[in-house]
């Protein structure tokens, strides 16, 4: 593949990923505020994490400032992301398979980061003794990542196909996603094993991208791996594999959203309650024009609501 095609391909893939992922994230963010539907344990509750208590336990909680921990939710998510705690607790049989798979992904992301660092170091012409340390890291991360990820992907495909509990829920895309990622890991492993110096070639390739080198090139095994990876990157944001983004919202915006009303929220709620309702059941008495407040509030003799 000639240099300029590489540049277009790589940057287009990254751009498409960023645009689509951002669009989908914004689509979630732009959804209106919802009614409270929290679920204990809520990690930001200071002093109650051990048993999953909330501020509602405090006597006349509205008279006290809310004591929130900003670090506890982060620690909670880190353990959940890297050690897959929920699966460990509730689906032990699946845990080693999916842990291998996800760890493979994390290691490859780490490998890319260190390749980028190595590329920068090459441009900066640091002495080989320094560069070699980073290249070694790249090499180890790559080997471990491709191996674990590949084994993980294969084991998950087998589990999906053989486990009767899972099988009836499978769709074409479920298998396709796993096979695609399996191909990514396998082509990476193939590249690692067949190249003399995987880390150097990878870092030089990235250097070529950074410096917009028209002479950028890669051997066949690495080219194959990069092409599969880029195609996956383009495909990824269109699927539910971006659960790694959605998970922020399911936890922080739903399960852990226990905020009492503040001024900004009150304003937004008033706007939402003024929207027209068009449900058809007789007891709702909607006509497409009356709004939530009209339909759910009976005017009383005492003071009007704000």
């Amino acid at each position: 593949m000639s240099g300029i095609v590489w540049h277009i391909f790589v940057f287009a893939a990254i751009l498409i990923f960023l645009i689509v992922a951002t669009y989908r994230t914004l689509a979630i963010i732009r959804l209106p505020i919802h009614l409270r539907w929290e679920l204990a344990p809520i990690p930001h509750e200071k002093g109650k994490q051990r048993y999953g208590g909330s501020y509602l336990e405090d006597y006349e909680w509205w008279k006290k400032p809310q004591r929130r921990s900003w670090i506890a939710p982060i620690i909670y998510m880190v353990i959940e992301i890297f050690l897959l705690r929920a699966i460990w607790r509730h689906n032990r049989a699946l845990w080693p398979l999916t842990l291998a798979f996800h760890t493979g992904i994390y290691l490859i992301v780490g490998m890319l980061f260190f390749s980028l660092v190595s590329a920068v170091l090459i441009i900066a012409e640091v002495p080989p003794s320094v560069l070699n340390v980073f290249l070694a890291i790249v090499s180890v991360l790559a080997a471990a990542g491709y191996l674990l990820g590949g084994l993980g992907a294969i084991s998950l495909i087998l589990k999906r196909a053989l486990d009767s509990g899972l099988r009836s829920f499978n769709t074409f895309s479920k298998y396709f996603n796993l096979v695609f990622l399996g191909a990514l890991f396998t082509s990476g492993a193939y590249a690692w094993f067949s190249l003399g110096d995987f880390a150097s070639e990878m870092s030089l390739f990235i250097k070529g991208l950074i410096t917009l080198d028209a002479g950028i090139a890669a051997s066949f095994p690495l080219s194959l791996h990069i092409v599969i990876s880029l195609l996956f990157l383009i495909y990824l944001p269109f699927t539910d594999m971006i659960h790694f983004i959605a998970k922020y919202f399911t936890y922080h915006e739903v399960r852990w959203d226990d905020r009492p009303q503040d001024e900004r929220m009150k304003k937004e709620l008033r706007r939402l309650l003024s929207q027209p309702v068009s449900w058809s059941a007789p007891h709702v008495k909607a006509d497409g024009k009356k709004n939530w407040i009209d339909l759910t509030t009976k005017k009383t003799n005492d003071e009007k609501e704000a």
Binding site: I33, H34, R36, W37, G52, E60, R89, D240, S280
Partner: protein
């Protein structure tokens, strides 16, 4: 009979059930409840009922009034209504209340089935496919994607996730949405944070707000009756006052202290809202609060305004419009009385409705401070204003954690601090706290008893809970030792009443159930006769 059920089966063969309940497939109970021959049989539908009613899910019917269309055209009309309801469920104007949580749960399930092993109903049924949280959710998810998104039908065919939408699909989906306790154990276990209980509730909401299909006990004789006469029990204001007068006298005589319950006191500090069902069926509960609040010198009142003396809000189980109507009425009554805070009685969903779920529809000066009963009671018990003698509660006691109070609100410790102080033989169930099992009556199921639904609740939904209770008392299992299961929630108590009657638990194991207020009053030093009478009078 464990036929391997597929998702697409939901649309097939609409006149026959997809599965049936066989007692020997259920999780076995410990002795002396382990012999199936000695347990009550599962009530089947009579031939007349099979003819008249729609029974195409699992041999159980919760909604006898499900309309039976006479023509294919009529069936089609209902199906079209379902689709229009589905679209409204996905719109900001009609479903801002739960749109973000719903879409997240629809779009990000990885179908890993981790949630299923957390579901007490699925486990108790012997892992019957139809009761997987994911079975119901995945059927609905595929319908949402097929009918609610552009290109949905094509995608469904291409990806092999096509579900036929017909009369069988919607009637089975309706009934299936009432085979969930909304306990949210599945949510707790989901690595993605997907909420299958939410999806079950959204399905119920679609049927209720668009087609007007909802259990009679929750809707017509539930929220509708409550808004009209004051309570789903049919208790009218003057009867409520009269009942309390009677109870005040009865218990003044029984305890030897003056019991009096205040009504409609403007400017009181606290508006207390009981569940009216407690007043009728478990009056020791509400009266125990009259005794405790008076003894602690609290300035409080009940309200006789419709529906201010019945804190239930069934809308939290199936319908946002009804949820809002009832919650707003409760708050308006508190505002009118000018109280400093509203405190709920011992009822889980009551708390969840008024303290959290409906919180954001109480705008402006309807946002009155609201407190949960456990914290309120803890403050009284440890205030020093009442002298307690814990030795009066020297019998085995365990605690049932109502899902709505504990897992959904995070109120875990106050009730335990009270129990550890007042009950020397208090022991926990396993699992407990936020990991508890639902009583089996959650999600509104405990007040539903049409046709043979009670059998399903007693045999399937409440099974793991019964097992748990027996295991908590395994050190003294015989009926000669009187044991108390503290269940501080009216809906749970109703389920336990059904469960205990079915299995004759009091007779075989000597266990009774009751609230926390009764335990506190039983330990009051000033009352000489025992307040807890162990079901004998």
């Amino acid at each position: 009979m464990k036929k391997k059920l597929k998702l697409t089966d939901i649309a097939k063969d609409g006149d026959r059930p997809l599965t049936e309940i066989n007692l020997d497939e259920l999780v076995p109970l410990p002795p002396p409840y382990d012999k199936i021959e000695e347990l009550p049989a599962f009530k089947q539908l009579t031939p007349d009922q099979q003819e008249r009613l729609i029974c195409n899910l699992d041999g159980v019917v919760s909604y006898a009034a499900l309309p039976k269309p006479k023509t294919k055209k009529e069936e089609k009309r209902y199906v079209e209504q379902f689709v229009s309801g589905l679209k409204k469920l996905l719109s900001k104007e009609n479903n801002w209340t739960f749109l973000q949580p719903l879409l997240l749960s629809i779009d990000y399930c990885a179908q890993c089935q981790t949630c299923c092993d957390a579901c007490p109903i699925y486990l108790a049924s012997g892992k019957n496919e139809i009761y997987r949280p994911t079975y119901r959710s995945e059927v609905f998810r595929r319908l949402v994607k097929k009918y609610g998104r552009p290109g949905g039908k094509l995608w469904a065919k291409l990806n092999g996730e096509d579900i036929e939408l017909n009369w069988a699909t919607i009637t089975r989906l309706y009934e299936l949405s009432y085979r969930c306790n909304l306990c949210r154990r599945c949510t707790l276990s989901c690595p993605m944070g997907v909420d299958n209980a939410l999806i079950a509730r959204e399905i119920r909401k679609l049927f209720s707000q668009e087609l007007g299909w909802a259990p009679k006990e929750l809707h017509e004789k539930g929220t509708m009756l409550q808004l009209e006469v004051g309570s789903p029990t049919g208790l009218r204001p003057h009867v409520a006052i009269d009942n309390f007068k009677f109870l005040d006298e009865e218990f003044s005589e029984a305890t030897g202290i003056k019991v009096s319950t205040p009504w409609d006191k403007k400017g009181a500090d606290v508006l207390f809202i009981h569940s009216a069902g407690d007043i009728i069926s478990f009056p020791e509960g509400p009266i125990s609060f009259s005794i405790l609040l008076n003894a602690a010198g609290i300035s409080w009142t009940l309200s006789s305004e419709i529906p201010g003396y019945d804190g239930v809000n069934y809308g939290v189980f199936y319908d946002d419009v009804q949820l809002a109507k009832v919650a707003i009425r409760h708050a308006q009554i508190g505002r009118k009385l000018g109280v400093k805070k509203i405190v709920m009685g011992e009822c889980g969903h009551q708390h969840k409705a008024l303290l959290t779920v409906a919180d954001r529809v109480l705008t402006g000066d309807l946002d009155i401070p609201r407190e949960n009963v456990m914290t309120f009671l803890e403050n009284i018990v440890f205030s020093g204003k009442i002298k307690f003698d814990p030795s009066k509660n020297d019998f085995p006691v365990t605690l049932h954690d109502p899902c709505n109070l504990v897992r959904n609100l995070g109120v875990v410790e106050p009730q335990r601090r009270i129990l550890r102080y007042l009950c020397p033989q208090f022991r926990e169930m396993t699992p407990h706290g936020i990991d508890n099992y639902c009583c089996g009556g959650g999600g509104g199921l405990s007040v539903m008893s049409d046709v043979n639904f009670t059998d399903w609740k007693a045999h399937v939904a409440g099974r793991l809970k019964l097992k748990q209770i027996l295991e908590a008392f395994a050190d003294q299992p015989g009926p000669e030792v009187k044991k108390y299961m503290c269940a501080p929630c009216l809906n749970c108590k109703l389920q336990f009443r059904d469960l205990f009657e079915y299995y004759r638990v009091k007779e075989k194991s000597g266990i009774i159930f009751g609230g926390l207020g009764e335990l506190a009053v039983n330990a009051m030093a000033i009352i000489k006769k025992p307040f807890i009478t162990w079901g004998e009078r």
